[in-house]
Structures are given as structure tokens and as C-alpha cells.
């Protein structure tokens, strides 16, 4: 039974770090953040390829890194399986040899057989004797993953594992990893700049900015209820507005926010005092388009109106950008089925009315100048 990975890292240079998170057996923790946020540095520190000035990296009771006690376990002794961004396969070895190289913990006669079994698990059977240059991008990625698993790792580290393949292959590999993770009972840390990948593959998501962990939680929490406007921007939530708390309805379980003349209700948030300035978000999934032909009950819930400023068709979905009447300098984004957009005659410059579902409206403290 593998155990939890505890990571606490601090340093000021060369890359500032102030990161803290845990990752549990069988869990995929997705580290997200913009370029330069320190994601790869953290992954390298866990692997033992980088040594931050201060910190503690612990796998259950085994301390891997603690500079105050002079502990810095060599890479080889940490037993991590790592998938590098460009796969870093050994170019002179075949696919099977690449995998068998990581099986030093097994007796030599057992390695080839075990290597073939791992190749079967990652759908690589039949490609044992191919050199990396004879493999497609997706196949190389699978060899890299197989090699990481071949180590029988205590921790699995994935550094932008799908960044170097085309979109179709990426989707397929993500599905394969999702299917595979059920059989992995080790903590898995996934570094990605792809937010949808983090959302789909991560059991929890950790948002990093300038080396600092800002928020760690389940994808639903991170992408719907960010702790701060900065996190909302980093997670590309959009629909970020400012307002002022106009009242609390304790009995009704509601808090009202004045959004430039429009009242927006959300669930009761007594920690925000009446009159206090707030930032608030509403994820696109909680914005409902009013039908043009008939009224519905939901229209009474936080109604707002505006002018369509943009329409982007993404397959069967239309992403609609609306300039609200009461806050015309901002943009409110929501999506509807493409046929719904057509049926309702939505076009740029046209008027639309929407409802902001109260359950999706999330209040935050406004940004301080330091942020």
C-alpha cells in the first residue's frame, strides 16, 4: 500500500517558491498555473532533480528532502516514475529496452516478461522492437508512461505529458490514462497548463502562481468557487464582476449584491458585511438564456439583459459573449447549444436576456493592490 506524498517548498531565488500540498494514494493532483508558475520546478524537486532552499518532501514517514536535517535522498532512491514533457526516451534502445531499463528492482530473467505486460497495459503490444524514432508521438508517450510505471513507483509524476501530441491523440491518451488510474495506487502529480485536462483528470487541482499555491481543492470547487479574483482569472473562469453587498436574507438563505443597479442573489454569505465591496463570478454553466418565444419560471432568478458582442461556434456549442446593459464595459460569457442559438435568432448586436443561477454566483473579497 502506497502512502501520501507531502510537499512543502520555500525559496526566494532563482525561482520563488512557496508551495504546500499533499497527494494521496490513488489520487491525481493536477498542478495548474501560467508559464513560470513553478509547476515543473516543484515536480523536479519531488523527483530529486532540483533542490529548493527550504522545504520538506515526505512520502508517508520517509523523508526524501529536508535541508535543515541535511536530507536529500538521491533520485534513484526516491523511486519515482516520471513522464517528461518531451518523453526523454533513450533513442538508442527499443521500446521494450526503454521499459526494461527501469526494472532494476526485478531479477534480470523476469524483466522482459514484465516489460511486455506493461506494454500490453498501455496498448503497445507488437511495438517492442521499435526504436523511438520509429514510433508516433502517441506511441512515444505511451512508452514514456510505461517506463515510468515499470519502475514500480512510489509516486508518479507527469510533466505536461500530453503537450507534444495532436489534439485527437491527446484526447485518446487522456482517456487511456483515466482508465489506467483505477489500477494505480500511488499518488500521481500531473503538471499541466491545460485547464480542461486538469479538470478531467485531476481528483484535485492545485493552482500555482509565481511559485505560490493559491488554492487546492476538487475541480468543481476550484473552477466554480475560486478563493480570489486572481484564481478566477488564472482558471480562465471569465464572468468576473464587482459589486457591493446590499443585504442579507437569513431566513431565505440569500445574500443580495448590487451589481451596478441590478440585484444579484446568491446563497447566504454572512461573512460579507452589508455595504462591503465584493468581487463575484458566475461560471458560464450557471448562466441560462431566456427563450425568445415564451417565459419560464427560471427567468425570475437574477435576470439580466444585454447586447450580444460575440458568438463563437465550437462544434455543437455556441459560446456567446454579452455586454450587460448595466455594466457595458464588461463581458458576460455563456454557452448554449448551437441549434438553440439559431432558433433564438441570436446574432451580434442583438438583445438577449439571461438568468444568473443563484447557486452558481460566488462571492469573493476584492483584490488588494498587492495581488
Amino acid at each position: 500500500m502506497a502512502d501520501a506524498l507531502h510537499v512543502r517548498l520555500r525559496q526566494t531565488a532563482p525561482i520563488p517558491l512557496d508551495a504546500a500540498f499533499d497527494c494521496y494514494p490513488g489520487e491525481v493532483l493536477a498542478l495548474v498555473g501560467p508559464s513560470g508558475a513553478g509547476k515543473s520546478t516543484i515536480l523536479r524537486a519531488i523527483a530529486g532533480l532540483a533542490s529548493p532552499a527550504n522545504g520538506l518532501i515526505q512520502k508517508d514517514s520517509a523523508v526524501w528532502y529536508d535541508p535543515t536535517r541535511g536530507i536529500d535522498l538521491p533520485v534513484q532512491q526516491r523511486r519515482v516514475g516520471m513522464v517528461f514533457q518531451d518523453y526523454a526516451l533513450f533513442p538508442h534502445l527499443t521500446a521494450l529496452e526503454n521499459i526494461v531499463t527501469a526494472m532494476g528492482h526485478l531479477p534480470p530473467p523476469a524483466r522482459a516478461c514484465a516489460g511486455r505486460e506493461i506494454m500490453r497495459r498501455v496498448n503497445l503490444s507488437g511495438l517492442e522492437d521499435r526504436k523511438p524514432r520509429q514510433l508516433s508521438g502517441g506511441q512515444r508517450q505511451r512508452v514514456a508512461l510505461a517506463r515510468a510505471l515499470a519502475r514500480d513507483p512510489q509516486v508518479l509524476l507527469l510533466d505536461e505529458p500530453f503537450a507534444a501530441v495532436d489534439q485527437v491523440t491527446r484526447r485518446r491518451l487522456q482517456d487511456e490514462l483515466a482508465a489506467l488510474r483505477g489500477s494505480l495506487n500511488v499518488p500521481t502529480v500531473l503538471v499541466t497548463h491545460d485547464l480542461s485536462e486538469a479538470r478531467n483528470l485531476g481528483d484535485r487541482v492545485c493552482v500555482l502562481y509565481q511559485g505560490r499555491t493559491l488554492q487546492t481543492g476538487e475541480p468543481e470547487e476550484i473552477f466554480n468557487r475560486p478563493k480570489s479574483p486572481l484564481i478566477a482569472r488564472l482558471t480562465d473562469l471569465g464572468n468576473l464582476f464587482s459589486g457591493r453587498v446590499s443585504g442579507h436574507d437569513r431566513a431565505g438563505g440569500l445574500t443580495a449584491v448590487d451589481w451596478r443597479g441590478v440585484t444579484v442573489h446568491t446563497h447566504h454569505r454572512p461573512e460579507f458585511a452589508e455595504g462591503a465591496a465584493v468581487a463575484w463570478v458566475v461560471p458560464p454553466a450557471f448562466v441560462v438564456l431566456h427563450r425568445g418565444d415564451r417565459q419560464s419560471r427560471g427567468e425570475r432568478e437574477n435576470p439580466a439583459a444585454g447586447t450580444v458582442s460575440g458568438i463563437r461556434l465550437l462544434g455543437d456549442t455556441a459560446m456567446i459573449s454579452m455586454s450587460p446593459e448595466n455594466d457595458p464595459d464588461t463581458r458576460l460569457i455563456f454557452s448554449v447549444a448551437a441549434h438553440t442559438a439559431r432558433r433564438n435568432g441570436i446574432e451580434i448586436g442583438g438583445q438577449v436576456s439571461i438568468s444568473l443561477l443563484a447557486e452558481g454566483v460566488h462571492l469573493m473579497h476584492p483584490e488588494t493592490p498587492a495581488e
Partner: protein
């Protein structure tokens, strides 16, 4: 053809390669990955024999190895005879003037191995030594063979340094290139022609080998 000179030249080239290539592998690998600030100075020092006139190199060898120098005196006390104008002096001089020809191909070969390939080897549980043996050397070997070819051919062809440090003693320090010079001086054009043709062919094969391996090396490290 002066067979004694040819034998001595081949012997010198072989001994130089045997002594220099391991040294070049250590220096080249270190230069490939070190991040020290004075790396440029170290590279310049190693490249110096490429542009320095052989007579200047020869002069400093004589100063450094002469009987008045600490090295010469230490040699004298250890072996009972002087170092200059001996085969051993040729070997030492040959190692130094061949440094860039041996170190640079090796350095380029190690530099061509991506950092993450070595890191992947460590993450796969390979020790530094196992990584060198199983990953780095198989990828760098075209550069190492290039270093051998260049060092061997360059040693056979060196003239100025060999003349100044060795003194052109038949059977002791007269190499093939000195024998060519002597043949010309004594109007033995035929011998000079045969020996020159031999050196020309050998040098061509060595350079062709270097280019061929360089292409192959590119294919391997970027597989």
C-alpha cells in the same frame, strides 16, 4: 618508404590515443554539462593548440621539459636521463597539442544528449555510472570515434612540435612527417611522394569517418 619512421609514427599515434581519449572523455563530458563561470576560459585554453604556431608550442615544451625545468629535473632524477628529444617527450607533447582534436568532438557528443534523457535514466533507477555506461556512452560513441580518428591522423601529420621537442633522431623521434622532410632535403622525391600519399589517404579516411559519424550521431541523439 621509411618503415622505421612509419612504425614510430603509428606507435606514437596509438599511445597518444590510448592516453588522451580517456582524458578527453572526462574533460569533454565535464565541459559539456558544467555551468561554472570560467568555462569559456577552459575551452579557450584547450583550443589554443588549434591556432598557436607549432614552433611556439615546441618552444614552450622545450622550456617546460628541458633539463633546467622542474619537470625535466624531476624526470632526470626518476629515470636517469633527460626528457627532451625522447619518444616520451613526443608523447607528452602530442597529448597536449591534440587536446582540442580529442576534447571538442567528445564535448559536442555529450552536449547533444538532452538533459532530460540523463534525468530519465536517473529516474529509472540507473546510477551515475550505469547512466554513463548504458545511456551516455552509446549515444556519444560517434563523437568518441571521431576524436580517435582526428587525434590519430593529426599525430601522424604533426611536424613543427615534433621536430622541436623530438629533435628528429632516427628510430627514436623521427616520425613520418619528418621523414618526408628529410627525403625532400636529400632529393629523394619518390620516397617523399609515397609517404605523402600515405598520409594524404589516411587523413582523408579519418575526416570521412568523422563526417560520417557526425551524421550518424545526429540521428541517434534526436531519435
Amino acid at each position: 618508404m621509411d618503415w622505421t619512421a612509419l612504425s614510430l609514427s603509428l606507435n606514437l599515434a596509438a599511445v597518444t590515443c590510448a592516453a588522451l581519449i580517456p582524458l578527453a572523455m572526462v574533460i569533454g563530458r565535464w565541459l559539456a554539462w558544467t555551468r561554472i563561470r570560467w568555462k569559456g576560459w577552459a575551452e579557450a585554453l584547450i583550443a589554443l593548440p588549434l591556432i598557436l604556431p607549432p614552433t611556439v608550442l615546441g618552444y614552450y615544451f622545450l622550456v617546460a621539459f628541458g633539463n633546467a625545468s622542474p619537470i625535466g629535473q624531476a624526470w632526470q632524477s626518476m629515470f636517469g636521463s633527460g626528457l627532451v628529444f625522447t619518444f616520451e617527450a613526443l608523447v607528452v607533447a602530442s597529448i597536449i597539442f591534440n587536446l582540442p582534436f580529442a576534447v571538442q568532438p567528445v564535448q559536442r557528443a555529450f552536449e547533444a544528449i538532452p538533459d532530460d534523457v540523463r534525468e530519465a535514466a536517473w529516474c529509472s533507477g540507473l546510477s551515475n555510472l550505469a547512466t554513463l555506461r548504458r545511456i551516455e556512452l552509446p549515444l556519444a560513441w560517434p563523437g568518441i570515434v571521431s576524436a580517435v580518428a582526428l587525434t590519430f591522423a593529426h599525430t601522424l601529420g604533426e611536424f613543427g612540435v615534433v621536430l622541436m621537442v623530438g629533435g628528429n633522431i632516427p628510430g627514436e623521434t623521427r616520425t613520418l612527417s619528418l621523414a618526408i622532410y628529410d627525403s625532400m632535403q636529400s632529393f629523394d622525391d619518390r620516397s617523399a611522394g609515397v609517404m605523402s600519399l600515405f598520409l594524404l589517404a589516411l587523413s582523408f579516411v579519418a575526416i570521412a569517418l568523422v563526417y560520417g559519424l557526425a551524421r550518424r550521431g545526429q540521428g541517434r541523439t534526436h531519435g
